[in-house]
């Protein structure tokens, strides 16, 4: 393994190379005091270098432990994890069906569509639905809503929360006619209290916030969903350097994925739409470019089909490309009421 692989600073690397240590194996048998003398650094610094190097080597050659590569998990174990994964309902059964039960936890889902199609509505519905208690098949968690455009309307969140509680009471009455103890004691205000609202005014704040989430979510372990509405807004302007934009966006996406996996939460990113000129005609595509379209795990496109709103699974590692109709009602996102709805397989 070469010397430039492990994360040590440039000057340390330079000193190692000029002292003749170009590969990690050459450092395997040296003691820290000898190294300190050779590199003309302090002994503690030499000790740090050796620690970092041996850790990197350990990743390569250790097979004394049961895994060939440290940190890997075999596919059979992963299957068990995947099956026990919780899903976050969208309140529309058709939509949940094509999503395989709902929005997946531990994954980043991108949802995009034209203005007015219902992205913010879906975002708010998700922040309410994550709070559905375990008894009702929900995650019983809290939500983080990152607002970059100022589209979050508290009154609407209240409406949706009220409707959700009414639906839960209905369900309760229907199933547990005798079990009075499971009376819903949740109030719409309690639901609103569990939505952490952040307002972001620039892309720097967006990056800073996502960096900060590691600490924040460690302190608020019951957060189960992070909704960003929208991830595009601050990146569509003031970026003259497109390469920088791509780097910053992919860095952000990676951090979100890490957060999703580490804390087992669902990350939902809402995206806007732009027109692309391809094949001689204008086509609609989600904003932020082609490189961004690779970074999210799942991608759902919301669009108009005749008079109906539809959702289409554009990209997913485990779900078929299918589309389903949904509607936006006074109570939130619900199934489409038209009688000729059916799930279209593409």
């Amino acid at each position: 393994m070469e010397i430039w692989r492990p994360p040590i600073s440039a000057s340390q690397r330079g000193k190692l190379i000029s002292a003749g240590y170009t590969s990690l194996s050459s450092l395997s048998s040296i003691s820290s005091s000898d190294l300190a003398r050779e590199l003309k650094v302090s002994e503690s610094e030499a000790l740090d270098i050796l620690k970092v190097v041996s850790h990197s080597r350990g990743l390569e050659i250790s097979n004394a432990s049961c895994s060939i590569v440290e940190g890997a998990q075999n596919a059979w174990d992963m299957l068990h994890d995947e099956e026990s994964l919780m899903h976050l309902t969208t309140s529309s059964a058709d939509l949940d069906n094509i999503l395989g039960g709902g929005i997946h936890c531990k994954e980043v889902t991108e949802i995009g569509g034209v203005p007015g199609i219902g992205k913010t509505q879906l975002g708010i519905q998700i922040t309410v639905n994550v709070q559905i208690p375990h008894d009702f098949g929900g995650l019983g968690g809290k939500a983080i809503y990152i607002d970059t455009e100022g589209s979050f309307m508290v009154e609407r969140a209240f409406q949706i929360a009220e409707a959700c509680i009414e639906d839960m009471s209905e369900y309760n009455r229907f199933l547990r006619k005798d079990f009075q103890a499971c009376e819903i004691r949740m109030q719409p205000k309690d639901i609103l209290e569990n939505i952490f609202y952040f307002r972001i005014c620039s892309y720097t704040e967006q990056i800073a916030l996502i960096n900060y989430f590691d600490k924040f979510i460690s302190e608020h372990k019951d957060v189960k969903v992070v909704v960003v509405d929208s991830v595009t807004f601050h990146f569509r302007q003031d970026f003259d350097d497109m390469a920088l934009r791509t780097r910053v966006l992919s860095g952000m996406a990676l951090k979100l994925m890490k957060l999703a996996k580490k804390f087992s939460l669902a990350v939902v990113l809402l995206n806007q739409v732009t027109t692309k000129h391809t094949e001689g005609s204008f086509q609609l595509a989600l904003a932020l470019g082609d490189s961004w379209s690779h970074t999210c795990t799942n991608r759902i496109v919301l669009y108009w089909n005749g008079n109906e709103r539809y959702a289409y699974i554009d990209k997913s590692p485990s779900l078929r490309s299918a589309s389903a109709a949904y509607s936006v009602t006074a109570r939130g996102i619900r199934n489409s009421s038209s009688s000729c709805k059916r799930i279209k397989m593409m």
């Binding site: 007015g116 455009e149 569990n194 005014c201 595009t232 302007q237 391809t278 595509a285």
Partner: protein, 371 residues
Amino acid sequence: MANKLISEIPLPKSIANVFAARNISTAKDALSLTEFELMELLDVGLTEVRSALSQISEIIAPPYQTALSLMEQRFQNEHLGGHFPTGLKGLDATLCGGIPFGVLTELVGPAGIGKTQFCLKLSLLASLPANYGGLDGRVIYFDVESKFSSTRLLEMGLRSFPEIFQMKEMAQEMAGRILVLRPTSLSEFTQHLQQIKVSLLQNQVKMLVIDSMTALVSGEHEQGSHKQQTLSWHISFIKSLAELSRIPVVVTNQVRSHNQNEAPHYSFQVQSRDATIETPSRYGSHLVAALGIHWAHAVTTRLVLEAKSGQRFIKVAKSPISPPLAFPFHISSLGILLLSDEGMELMGPEINSIHCQGHNEIINFGMESLD
């Protein structure tokens, strides 16, 4: 917040010095680089870079509020929980009180439909004292196309609120609260905006009206996608202005004609384009809102004014809180009046389409009744 200096952030001395030496003076510069880039640039180890970044991020990240405290704050401090009633009962009911504070509300429609009339009426209402349903404050009116008519404004005032406007001093006071600016170019508009931001709260400005946004851009010689770039700073600025000061901002937009073949679809929709799914908006509607899709995303509420079969309608095309309703209206000496407070619910993308049928007859008819 983003331009906060690194020197103001409490970091360990050693790393703060390195940041300064490498010319990374603001948080924005530091956060725009990845961890490895910073390691290379600053020549420090990964742990130090990570801890510095996490400290910077913690300071820069905005604080949170629970949705509940947001709601309580708004209902306590703001007029009607953050809504400005337009006086049109049906519209106010559907918008949960009126035009929302802190976000952009757009009025879009063909020429002569009544957008400026609506803006004039709203400016009048905003200047009125609270017991008349007004915001009791100043209004800044950007009259880009020179359509502002004081005569018409005072006529509306006299007909709608005679008890106030019959007295000359009161009329003068109310009209005196409406400040009209006539920017002749986009750069002049920019300057005005920047000036306003500073003095908004001290001067008790309670509403901002921009009539029209399209005219600002069409004066510029750039075209095509550059138009979008030109406006994106302004869109962002106006939105932040609205939010920080929690005032309603009303912007008018024009329409442009729309090539039938131009209806864009997603790539996965190509197959269905030849099928019989025909969007109803294609029939009779050759107009779309100007300013493009970036602008359409940026406005929170879009009110479409159109004329269909000789009748004018005001439609709630985009709103986070209202169903897609259309209300018939007409213009009288009092301003805009709804003919029915019960809106018609429109299905599908029909709510977004803009019609201009039988419009010319309306204009002539309207002019007669304004005598």
